[in-house]
Symmetry: D2
Subunit: 151 residues, 4 copies
């Protein structure tokens, strides 16, 4: 994995402040468990009200945590005063999402002035070994805060 | 759009029963608003607790409804006694998700014995015109109910 | 499908000139068969030297024509003096690529100042009915000609 | 990266034999440069007749080599007598494809009885450092040779 030098020395504080404004992640009970240059980790405890018809955590919820981890991984490398939007992502679901906790990890594959490409994974764990349940490839866009989103 | 002949005459009842077991969709307040051969529609009213840091509905929630619509669209064409799993999807987010309601529509592009390819969209509306906010291309897998999920 | 008003009245001439500079498409024997606002069609006759191990046209060649069709579909709606780059795409392959000719069609789903989202398909035909062989969802980026590509 | 135990001790010979039947890769001048359990590498020297309108190697050609590398990476872990089909892939293009040679590397993320998920990259090199130009996430399907492709 490449090593990145963030241009905003205060990146962690900005990301934690932004995360705190994400009402969905609070509703889900997700926590921001690690922030480093180009990499972010988010943890979600299992809850029955987040499951699909087979009792596994819904694909959209796994996606929510790894999308957020990838977006913030991109943001760690952007200038102060930037925000990040998800342009698009692709996710493969490789194992049933069973476990006590789900860990979404996002990392920057290629940072850019306009677009940043990230990869992410979701692992399930019940305390012991982690099992891969989903893997993401995503495109994120940085833009100055308060600017209108691009059309 | 192609016309499909479902092999299970009772497909709508099976899909409504499966939807009723989706705890996440109940938690979100989503409703199954239309089921026809190869096409399913799900509606989600706006709720502030589903938003990201800019106050728009989170990408993962939009994904939840259109993934579910695509999965059930695939299931409308499968034999009785089948269930559907999401193999993978890709979603582009094209406008900020603002509006009173979000409508996820999934439709079958190519049905298959093992894999079904679906396309889907999410539209935002406040009662008047619909605006496209996200678009999906997805791969779904059918398998007999109670069978173990494929490794 | 939405109707688009191109800002460059001369879009077709610019696209035909750009296509003529695509050495790969000339090498493959591909032709630009239709250009309209937001939509482009490219045709490729079957050639045995483009096949994979089963004798079907290789996924990467099908991708080449539908990627090019999507990119130019995006370019039809951009200002004069712009070029287009592929940010990313996803392609599903739904039938074996057999037939005398392959038709790649790209269309704009959502135009934008920076990014344009396109959908595309590849159909196989031997003179009669067309059969869908691949379907694409893609993100294209416009930028002024001669500008350095964005990092 | 996980370690894999191939079930077919002769996997390398089978993959080299299959590669030799890929007429496209021969037409492009691509070579199979490494085969190991769960990982395959393919190299393509630059050729002007493979370029797009800016003189870079066309996205579809980069895709051809990394798709093939991912497909064969999946096949290394399948039983003898199996073949592999590309279900779908997503590719991000992150740098202009300039360089003397392009190296496509595919690796298995999650093997499976029916579907195998792979990740791949394309690097450009002119003899010195490698630069990432494209990154792929793909779904491959194994099936017994001579069987009809699944609908």
């Amino acid at each position: 994995m490449p090593t990145f030098n963030p241009v905003d020395p205060d990146f962690e504080r900005h990301i934690r402040a932004s995360f705190a404004r994400q009402k969905l992640l609070e509703s889900l009970g997700a926590r921001l468990t690690a922030v480093s240059p180009g990499a972010v980790e988010i943890e979600l405890p299992f809850r029955a009200d987040l499951t699909q018809q087979h009792g596994f955590v819904h694909a959209g919820i796994l996606t929510s945590i790894v999308d957020t981890a990838c977006g913030y991984a991109a943001l760690t490398l952007m200038p102060a005063g930037f925000e990040v939007l998800t342009v698009e992502f692709k996710v493969n679901f490789v194992s049933p999402a069973t476990g006590a906790r789900f860990i979404g990890r996002g990392r920057v594959t290629k940072p850019g002035r306009t677009l940043t490409v990230c990869a992410g994974d979701v692992f399930a764990t019940s305390g012991g070994a982690e099992q891969l349940v989903a893997t993401m490839l995503a495109t994120m866009m940085g833009l100055p805060e308060r600017a209108s989103p691009p059309e």
